[in-house]
Every structure is written in structure tokens, then in C-alpha cells.
């Protein structure tokens, strides 16, 4: 299916093909913001410049920005009054931090000033999630997980979840944590030499974000996970289905799983939706298009809260 209809048509008649030069001399980079925050982590904002798609050099970090966070007065996003604000410090390599943590149930306004440009974004950090889960066996071959959440009735709630196997083999476990980052300082150090490692360090807790399934609860406050159709990720290169599914290709899979449940802001939810939609049916995907809430720039500024639940089948 990857062959284009016209390519086939042209191949059929041996038509001519030439490479055209696209003038990129007037390309103007813009600022890309990447910041996912929760009440459990300190403020981190990563700033880079975009680059031309014809440029295969590394992304250039934004070094001279003024990064300002404003805490808004009310959880209602329509109220636009600042009650507190502060600046983030530049650590280097485009990474701006501050040791304090976002508060749950708050709206935050991010303002970045650089090169006479003003880039803004706004997000909400959801309240700490209270969730429990129950495995429901519909038939011997079909199971559901029912996740019960206590919702914030003052606003629309958005969630994401992911099921990760707990690998018994210590070696395999270390590899998995290293790939995802986890909380290990050792692993962070191992990855700190590259730009990608910085991201991994910053967003280590989100090792599963690309596999996270965005969801909204039903009227009773439940999120139903259909195990028949879920694919879980045990490491970066292999997948397995859950017990009750048809097959299991992971030799290390046990009957213990970690269910990660995120309460996410609407921006993060939309971001995950766009990630999900951009996932292509085969592994040859080339392009992505992810949701952005950044005005006058690109990237994502979003909030979440995470709860992990042990599931045993």
C-alpha cells in the first residue's frame, strides 16, 4: 500500500523523474516549546528552534530566552488574573528549569520572549488522580479492566492509560528502564550526552506516552479497557498481547502488570489523540503531526497527574 498510484502509473510507462531544488534560503526558524508538567516534577521547559526539513543537523537550542510562568487566579480558565509569577533559569542546551513544582488544579500561563518574539501557551495541571482498577472476566477468553476514577466535577476530565508488564528478569528490567528513563540517576547519566537524552531525562516518567491510550470516562466515572484489543509494550522493539488475548510473544511476560493512569489537560489529551492518529499501520511511518497549543510557535505545553496501579491476572 505504500506505493502511490501515480508512481505505479509512471513506473508502468517508464516516465521521467527529476529531483527539484526547493529554495530554503528564506526559511525562518520559529521557537518550539516542549514542556509536560505535573505536581510531582519540577518546572522544566525545553526550547529549540525549528529547522528546515532539508536540514539534517541537530535542532538548535534557544539560549537567550526569557521564560516566564504565571499562575492564574482561578481554576476556571476564563478568569485571567495572575496571582503569582516567576522566571525559569537557563541550565544550558535550551533547558529552562525552576526547582518548585506546579500545583494541582491550577492554570498556568507560559510566556517566552526571545528575538523580539513572544510565544505563549496555557495549560491546566489536573488534580491528583484517585483511581482504582478491577479486572472483569467476561468469558474465559475475554477480560476487561474497569478503572474507577473520582472525577473533578467542575470541569471536563481527560485521561490516558497504559498497561506495562512487570518483567521478572532483572537484566531485562534494567534495559527497559534505561530505554524509558525511569527514576534511575544512573540511567539518566548514561543518556545525558545527547539531545535526545535530555528529553528522556526530562520526560523519563513518560516512557510510555506514545503508547498511552487517550480516553474519557463514561457517565459513571469508569474507563473500560478492552483487553481483547489492547496491545502493550514491553520494550521498544517487541509487543505482546495481554493474557486473554490470542498470543503472547514476550517470553518475559508474567501475570503482573503496571497500569498507568494519567489525568491529563485537554491539550495533552489532544496531543495524545494526534499521536494516536499519526500512528500508521506499519513501521515505515515517516511523518507525524502532533497537536500544538503554542501560540506563535510550535510544540506542546501540557499538564498531567499520574497514578500507577498493580494489576494481577
Amino acid at each position: 500500500m505504500r506505493y502511490n498510484f501515480y508512481i505505479l502509473l509512471i513506473l508502468a510507462f517508464s516516465a521521467c523523474e527529476t529531483e527539484i531544488q526547493v529554495d530554503q534560503s528564506e526559511y525562518k526558524p520559529f521557537v518550539v516549546v516542549n514542556s509536560i508538567v505535573s505536581a510531582d516534577s519540577m518546572w522544566v521547559v525545553q526550547l529549540n528552534y525549528s529547522k528546515s526539513i532539508f536540514d539534517n543537523s541537530d535542532f538548535k537550542p534557544v539560549e537567550n530566552a526569557s521564560v516566564h510562568i504565571a499562575v492564574m487566579a482561578d481554576t476556571d480558565s476564563n478568569v485571567d488574573e495572575e496571582i503569582q509569577s516567576f522566571y525559569l533559569q537557563h541550565e544550558g542546551n535550551g533547558r529552562y528549569t525552576r526547582s518548585n513544582r506546579p500545583a494541582e488544579g491550577r492554570n498556568y500561563q507560559l510566556t517566552v520572549e526571545v528575538d523580539e518574539e513572544v510565544i505563549t501557551a496555557r495549560t491546566y495541571v489536573p488534580k491528583v488522580l484517585h483511581a482504582s482498577a478491577e479486572v472483569i472476566e467476561l468469558t474465559p477468553d475475554s477480560k476487561h479492566i474497569s478503572i474507577e476514577v473520582i472525577e473533578d466535577e467542575a470541569r471536563e476530565n481527560f485521561y490516558a492509560y497504559e498497561l506495562l508488564p512487570i518483567v521478572e528478569d532483572k537484566t531485562e528490567l534494567d534495559q527497559t528502564e534505561a530505554l524509558g528513563g525511569g527514576d534511575s540517576d544512573t540511567n539518566n547519566d548514561a543518556a545525558s550526552s545527547t539531545e535526545e537524552a535530555n528529553f528522556t531525562q526530562q520526560f523519563g516518567k513518560f516512557n510510555g506516552f506514545k503508547g498511552a491510550v487517550p480516553a474519557q470516562s463514561d457517565q459513571s466515572g469508569s474507563i473500560i479497557v478492552d483487553l481483547d484489543n489492547i496491545t502493550i509494550r514491553s520494550d521498544q522493539s517487541s509487543t505482546s498481547t495481554l493474557p486473554g488475548g490470542d498470543t503472547s510473544s514476550s517470553s518475559n511476560a508474567s501475570n503482573k502488570y503496571t497500569l498507568k493512569v494519567w489525568a491529563v489537560s485537554i491539550d495533552y489529551y489532544n496531543y495524545l489523540i494526534s499521536v494516536q492518529e499519526s500512528s500508521l499501520p506499519d513501521s515505515e511511518k515517516t511523518f507525524y503531526n502532533y497537536h500544538t497549543n503554542i501560540t506563535n510557535g510550535g510544540g506542546i505545553f501540557a499538564g498531567y497527574n499520574l497514578e500507577e496501579i498493580l494489576i494481577e491476572f
Partner: protein, 867 residues
């Protein structure tokens, strides 16, 4: 702003007819008494103004008494008084300061104008008795003209025909059917405004197309769409592009009518040739600025094609063969009052396409075929009372199936298929109800079925495990139409046309995706939208003075029946024209609306454009077209035309995220999937606006055996959309934005049977969307930024075609016609489409933009035998 313009134009339309008869420039005259004779009134006019008067003393009685309302009276009012109280008509010629007094004893002469040889009625033929008093025949060749008793002869003039003078003084009754003779010595002007001897009559047809046009399509034969593209403002910017674009609009915004019914696809094999067969066409008009109110439903232009009725006198047959198709044509009388025309074409590309396929390509099955069939049966109850039945059926099928084995591990089967069908059936009944009123009526149905399919199967040779994906885009459109129209010739304030009708639309768009190969019965549209479009209109053509002509119209559309929503649109049309000596200038305004949208796949992947109706969220598209042209006609040898246009578009739709479509370049990922999830097409589109503006230039030269045409258009077309809530709206060039467009044509006729011709066209390439920015995602991986719109322009499109045509007549009148030519003589690699390709890891740049051309230099041969 658009609304204000709309209101203003409506007001102008309503008031201008009322004001038309007033003439503030005429002087006021003084009389000694309120009762005067016509003779003294004429003397007063000549003494107190610059006008002199002419009259025939045999028919105008100078002793007739006039009763004035006051002693100081404007000349215009005096003329009205004379016309009201006496049996006299006064014609004012301000350019020559002349008043002509005619006896008011008038008569009406009407009838059908036809070709003497074939009996075919002829449209847009000028019938006149003075240079400033005449009319044109309508679509059925019918004319009606009021003349005074003094007129002794009429003149009939039509390009390519000998001008005919007909004595009418001794004509009994009012019926006068006229047949005129083709003038083989005259050149056939292919396109452009006709250079008429009656240049101060308003020209009803902005473009004449005759099937004899030597501008050829790829196969080396005359082709309507190839000719249309030579008109300034009309362009095509890539090889094998379906349809054409007019003044910044899209290919879907041109209404194309065959005998009054719309068709949706005008091309075969993705633009290889048009569906129109030159032998079947009697007349074609393209309206691009001053669009009459009888045309509606599309935003940019109207192409009105009338098929031949069939020769009423003799049987004509022809057969032709070229690299592309085999064609047969026959026309002739069935009875003295009935004629028939039949035409069929079948492509022959498929016969040799397989032989051209490289064996290494792995193609196991291909299909490149089309066929079409036209028929028209006409019966005349009387010369001006006719019923006709028109049938058109066309079908295309392109299919490519390929098998490939990858390193003896995986077996791939790719199936790509695009099929479409056009079908049309129309019944037209036309009758002259009186010598002033002509009735047109029609009912019919037009259907368009489009089906594209991309299926893929991957099988492991070792364990025979299999993975399949089948993506199917379907667009089924059906229109049922009933319409009645009247031409009224008897009014003193010009000719009126009235009409009303209703169209029932049935639209079934769908894209299906399945992980199995869908059976044919499963590949059907899963939903159908039914909607209705009722309309009525009025048109008027009024000679305000001998120099000024006003064509005005008002169309009303009511769209209803879908989701309990309805839309009302009033669409005024105004064209004001000034003619003096060899100069013509006109200003026009047209308001248009379009109730069916074409959801265009912006990528160059599998064609999956879908027709969708207006809904509660997606309102009908609308446009406001402003244009002005100036034309200078030097003599019968050359003419020059300069035009300007400014078009505004509203309620346009575009996919919010073109990159979903761009993914199709790599994966043929579906646009949306009505079959399996909630993603309706309405959720994928945004509504915006657009504008287009430009200048047009056209130069025509004809002298002796030599003809030269040159057209140039300088224009821009842009769209403005707000795609994301947190982003401002953006303005970007439209996919068919083409700043420069040049067309030229050269012809030299050695004699009647030998001619040499060449055409050269140039246009900036089409635009397409490529994300120009890469940004880091949250893990630092590069992803594409989605904000680019139409930011990559394909290479310029230009090519030279050369041709030589020979006609060999035999003693019995039969003839062979050979057309030999070279297509793309200097082998320019004109862009057909482009795609992006990832380069191996570490390459700089990491991706490449590849452009593919389709038609290199190749010979054209067309052989036709006619008997």
C-alpha cells in the same frame, strides 16, 4: 464588504432599467403654443438643438398634430410625446446627432436559422437591418425581430458563413426560416471573441468553439478542452490535469453542460483526452465573467455545450484511428422530420500498454481503457417545434496490479484501480409559442460514479501468514433535473429570458478501509445525502442607447431537504457594455453559489476527491466575480483585448490537516473512514474564503492564409483559513495559483486541404503542500510541523506542439484526413505530480523532492475517413 457589494448590485439591477430610458444630455426646446404639427416640431428640433432629423415623407405624415403639456419641453419628453400620440418611432443616434423618424407600423419576423447543408440550427447568428438594430438567434436557432414596414431587407451574419441579405418587404406573414451557407474560404477562428461585422450589437457568446478547431489534444485530433485552455484566464498547470481552471477558481467550480445537463468528469484517463468528441459538438460557449443568470450551481464559469441534432439532409459517416482511440460517427435523417446522430469511441491504449511494461516491474495485470457513446435523436413537429433525446455514456478504467517477492521472504501484491462512469439522459422540448415567445423545457438525469481502490496484501512465504489492507474511495453523484424557460422577444425594453426548475441531488461519498480484501458488493457507499435545489431566474438584454448595452439578470436559488437546513441565495448578474466604432468596453458582475463541494485530496496520492453536499455546518460556497474588458478591433485582420478581474470566494472548504493526506504518499492512509469510526468528513474540514485577481491580454491576428493567437494572463489566487483555534488565520496561495500563463497558436493554410500549425503554452506549475519545518517532539525526535500550505511549486509547464493536416478528397466527395504532428517537440519534462522521498540515513538533505513527468516527445498521427 461582500454583502454591501451584493446589495449595491441588486439596487443597480432594479433601478437601471427604470433609468435607462432617461437621457439627461438632451436639450430643452421652446414652443409658442401647446398644439403644433409634426413638421413644426421637427423644425424646432433642428433650430434649437444640434440634431438633424431624417424621415421618409411617404410614410411619415408631417401634418399630424401634437398636443404638448407645456411650452418648454425637454427633447426626450418631446420624443416620447411624438411616439405616444403618433404612429411614429424615433431613433436617436447621439454619436451622429441624428434623429430618425419611422412609421410605427411595425411587424415581427421570426423563424429558425440553420445551416443549409446539414439543416442544423445555428446559435448566436446575428440578424439585423441596420448596424444598430438587430438580434441574435437563441440556442435553438430561433430569432424574433421587430422591424418597421419600411425595412426592405434583413442581413444574416455568422462567423464562417457567407453573410446573407434577405428581402422581406414582400414577405407574407411573420415566419421566415433562414438557411445560410458555410464559407469555406473563410478561416475558422478557433476561439476568442468572434470578430463580427455587427460589432455594436452585444455579443452573446464570450467564446465560440467550433469542432473544426485545429488545436489538438494529445492524440492529434481536435479537442474542446484543449481549445478552451487557450482562452486568457483559463489555464492548466500540469500534465494530464483533469478539467481546467478559470480565473483563480478550482476545476470543480466550472459547470459543464451537455444539452443543458451537468456532467462531473470531463476527461478520460486522468486528462489524456476530454470526453468531448469534436464531431458531435454543434456549439460550445464558455462564460467566465458575465455569466448569464440561467447558469448556476458553480462558482467560476459555465461551459455550455450543444450537441449536433444530426444532419437532416444527408447521411454522413466518419471513422478515425490514432494512437489513443478508435472512433466511429454517423448522422443523418431517419425521416423528413427526424434525424439521428451517433458517435462512439473506444480506447486502444490497453492493447499495447502491456507490451510496453518492463518485465522487471512485476506488473501482472493492467487495464487502461475508456469508451464513450453519444446519441441524439431529434424530431421536428414543425421548424420551430422540436423534441430531442440525448444520451451520453462514458466509462474509464485504470488498473495496475503488481506482484513482488522480497528476498524470498515476503510476497507483495499491490492493486491500484480508478474507475469512473458518466451517464446522462436528457429530453429537450422547444417550441415557438408565438412570434415573440419561445419555450425551452428539459428533463433529465446525470450520474457520476467514481471508485478508486488501493488494496495491498503481504504474505510470508515461510508460514503463509497474511496481512491485507483495502482502501476504497467512492463518490456517487446523481442529479435529476426539470426546467422550463421562456425567451420573450416582444418587449420594448429588450429581450427577456425567464426560467425555473428544480434539481434533485443524490450524493454518496465514502472512504472504506478494511483489513481484508473487500468484495465488490461490500464496496458501496455507506450513506446517501439527498438534497434539492430549486431555482428561478430572469435575464434582460437592453440597448440603452446605440452605444450602451445592458445585460442584467437575477437568479434565486433555494437549497433544501438535507438535515432540515435550507439556504437562500439571490444572485444578481450585470454586464454593461459600451461600443463605439472599433472600441468595446464592458463591466460585469456575477454573484454565484455552489451547493456541492468537492473534497479535494491535496496530495498526489491515490485520487480520492469526493463530492459532498452543503450541510448545516458546511454552507454553500459563494463567489462575487467582478471583471472588465476593453477590446479594440482594428479591422478584420486583428483585435486586441485587455481584461481585469477580481473574484471573491466565501464558504470554501479545505482539509484541516493536509498531512493526513500527505501520509498517503507513503502509505495510502485513508482520508477518513465512514465505515469504521466516527470521523465524518465534516469533522475534517475547515471553512474559509478566497480571492483571485489578475489581468488578461489577448491578441488575434488573421490575414490571408495566416492566423495567430496570443494570450497572456497575470493573476494570483489565494485562500484564507483559520485551521487551529490557537493560531491566527492564514492566507496562502491556492493550489491552482498560476501567476503567469501564456498561450499562443500559429496556423498557415497552404490551401483548403493543407495546413501547418503550431501551439506553445506556458504556465507556472501547480502548488502542493509540504511541511517545510521539522520540530523536535517531546522525546527530541524530529517531526514535521503542520503549518505549511501549498508551499512547493512544481516546475513551470511549457510545451510546443507541431502539426500538419492534409485532406485528400475523392471524386465521390469522400475524403481522408491525416493529421501528423509532434507532441512536446522540444521534450520538456512537464510536471505531472511530485512526491517526497526519504534519503538514506546521514544524507544531506535528508529528504528529496522528486518530480515526475508523463508525456515526453512523441509523434501524433490521426487518420480519419469520412464518407
Amino acid at each position: 464588504m461582500i454583502r454591501r457589494v451584493h446589495v449595491l448590485v441588486c439596487a443597480v439591477f432594479l433601478s437601471v432599467n427604470l433609468l435607462a430610458q432617461e437621457n439627461a444630455d438632451l436639450p430643452t426646446l421652446k414652443f409658442d403654443s401647446l398644439q403644433v404639427t409634426l413638421e413644426s416640431a421637427i423644425k424646432s428640433i433642428e433650430n434649437q438643438s444640434d440634431f438633424f432629423c431624417s424621415y421618409n415623407p411617404l410614410t411619415v405624415d408631417l401634418s399630424d398634430q401634437l398636443l404638448l403639456t407645456r411650452t418648454q419641453i425637454p427633447l426626450a419628453r418631446l420624443i416620447e410625446t411624438i411616439e405616444e400620440q403618433l404612429e411614429i418611432e424615433v431613433q436617436i443616434n447621439q454619436s451622429s446627432n441624428k434623429l430618425q423618424f419611422f412609421s410605427k407600423q411595425k411587424r415581427i419576423i421570426s423563424g429558425i436559422i440553420s445551416d443549409e447543408a446539414s439543416g442544423e440550427s445555428l446559435q448566436a447568428v446575428a440578424v439585423y437591418h441596420t448596424s444598430s438594430s438587430g438580434t441574435y438567434s437563441n440556442e435553438e436557432g430561433y430569432y424574433s425581430l421587430r422591424i418597421t414596414e419600411e425595412v426592405d431587407s434583413l442581413f444574416v451574419s455568422y462567423l464562417g458563413y457567407k453573410t446573407k441579405a434577405i428581402a422581406v418587404q414582400n414577405l407574407l406573414g411573420s415566419s421566415l426560416n433562414i438557411s445560410i451557407t458555410s464559407d469555406n474560404e473563410l478561416t475558422t477562428v478557433i476561439i476568442s471573441d468572434t470578430i463580427r461585422s455587427l460589432n455594436d450589437l452585444s455579443n452573446p457568446t464570450p467564446m465560440d468553439y467550433r469542432p473544426e478547431s485545429p488545436i489538438t489534444g494529445i492524440g492529434g485530433r481536435s479537442d474542446l478542452l484543449s481549445s478552451v485552455r487557450f482562452i486568457p484566464g483559463v489555464s492548466v498547470g500540469s500534465e494530464a490535469q483533469n478539467g481546467f481552471t478559470v480565473r483563480g477558481g478550482g476545476p470543480d467550480q466550472n459547470i459543464i453542460l451537455i444539452d443543458g445537463l451537468p456532467i462531473y468528469e470531463a476527461s478520460h484517463l486522468g486528462g489524456l483526452s476530454s470526453i468531448f468528441s469534436s464531431e458531435t459538438i454543434k456549439h460550445a460557449d464558455l462564460y467566465k465573467g458575465d455569466i448569464p443568470a440561467r447558469f448556476g450551481g458553480k462558482l467560476s464559469s459555465a461551459l455550455d455545450i450543444r450537441l449536433k441534432d444530426g444532419n437532416r439532409n444527408t447521411v454522413n459517416r466518419s471513422a478515425s484511428l490514432n494512437f489513443e482511440n478508435l472512433k466511429g460517427f454517423i448522422e443523418g435523417p431517419i425521416s423528413p422530420k427526424t434525424s439521428i446522430m451517433l458517435n462512439g469511441r473506444i480506447s486502444i491504449v490497453g492493447l499495447y500498454a502491456n507490451a510496453l511494461l518492463p518485465k522487471s516491474s512485476g506488473f501482472v495485470d493492467t487495464e487502461f481503457s475508456y469508451n464513450d457513446f453519444y446519441s441524439k435523436l431529434s424530431h421536428w413537429f414543425s421548424p420551430s417545434n422540436r423534441i430531442s433525446f440525448t444520451v451520453y455514456s462514458g466509462r474509464d478504467d485504470i488498473r495496475l496490479e503488481r506482484e513482488k517477492i522480497d528476498q524470498a521472504e515476503l510476497s507483495f501484491i499491490d492493486l491500484n484501480e480508478v474507475k469512473w462512469k458518466n451517464r446522462l439522459f436528457a429530453i429537450n422540448y422547444n417550441v415557438a409559442l408565438s412570434d415573440k415567445v419561445f419555450l425551452h423545457s428539459k428533463i433529465g438525469v446525470s450520474t457520476f460514479d467514481f471508485d478508486s481502490r488501493s488494496a495491498n496484501s503481504v504474505t510470508s512465504i515461510q508460514d503463509q501468514s497474511n496481512s491485507k489492507l483495502d482502501v476504497n474511495a467512492i463518490s456517487q453523484q446523481s442529479d435529476r433535473i426539470a426546467q422550463v424557460a421562456l425567451d420573450y422577444f416582444g418587449s420594448r425594453i429588450g429581450k427577456f429570458n425567464f426560467g425555473a426548475g428544480i434539481i434533485n441531488h443524490s450524493s454518496a461519498p465514502s472512504i472504506l478501509e478494511a483489513n481484508t480484501c473487500l468484495d465488490p458488493f461490500e464496496r458501496v457507499a455507506d450513506s446517501t445525502y439527498l438534497s434539492n435545489e430549486a431555482f428561478c431566474y430572469i435575464e434582460n438584454t437592453l440597448d440603452l442607447t446605440s452605444n450602451w448595452t445592458l445585460k442584467s439578470g437575477l437568479r434565486y436559488n433555494y437549497f433544501f431537504g438535507l438535515e432540515d437546513v435550507s439556504y437562500n441565495y439571490f444572485q444578481p448578474r450585470v454586464n454593461l457594455k459600451y461600443s463605439r466604432s472599433r472600441n468595446q468596453i464592458n463591466f460585469s458582475y456575477s454573484s454565484m453559489s455552489q451547493f456541492l463541494h468537492l473534497l479535494v485530496n491535496p496530495s498526489s496520492g491515490l485520487p480520492s476527491d469526493l463530492w459532498v453536499p452543503s450541510t448545516s455546518r458546511v454552507a454553500p460556497e459563494s463567489s462575487q466575480l467582478f471583471s472588465s474588458t476593453y477590446k479594440y478591433i482594428s479591422s478584420k485582420t486583428w483585435s486586441l483585448q485587455i481584461g481585469a478581474f477580481y473574484n471573491l470566494y466565501d464558504n470554501l472548504i479545505a482539509y484541516r490537516n493536509p498531512y493526513e493526506i500527505i501520509q498517503a504518499i507513503v502509505t495510502d492512509h485513508p482520508v477518513f473512514n465512514r465505515d469504521t469510526d466516527e470521523k465524518n468528513w465534516e469533522d475534517r474540514v475547515e471553512i474559509g474564503r478566497g480571492r483571485a485577481y489578475g489581468l488578461e491580454f489577448q491578441f488575434n491576428y488573421e490575414r490571408g492564409r495566416f492566423t495567430y493567437l496570443l494570450g497572456y494572463t497575470l493573476s494570483r489566487s489565494e485562500r484564507t483559513f483559520k485551521f487551529y483555534a490557537n493560531e491566527p488565520e492564514i492566507t496562502y496561495p491556492y493550489k491552482y495559483d498560476r501567476p503567469h500563463n501564456i498561450s499562443s497558436y500559429l496556423e498557415y493554410r497552404f490551401d483548403e486541404n493543407h495546413k501547418l500549425f503550431a501551439s506553445w503554452v506556458f504556465g507556472n506549475g501547480n502548488l502542493w503542500t509540504l511541511a517545510e519545518s521539522a520540530i523536535p517532539d517531546i522525546e527530541g525526535n524530529p517531526i514535521l510541523d503542520e503549518r505549511g500550505r501549498n508551499n512547493i511549486r512544481l516546475s513551470n509547464y511549457h510545451k510546443l506542439n507541431l502539426g500538419y493536416s492534409v485532406r485528400r478528397e475523392q471524386a465521390n466527395g469522400n475524403y481522408f484526413e491525416y493529421t501528423l504532428g509532434i507532441h512536446n517537440a522540444y521534450n520538456n519534462r512537464n510536471p505531472f505530480f511530485s512526491y517526497i522521498e526519504e534519503q538514506p540515513a546521514g544524507s544531506n538533505p535528508p529528504i528529496a523532492v522528486k518530480e515526475v513527468s508523463l508525456y515526453p516527445i512523441f509523434p501524433q498521427i490521426n487518420v480519419k475517413y469520412s464518407w
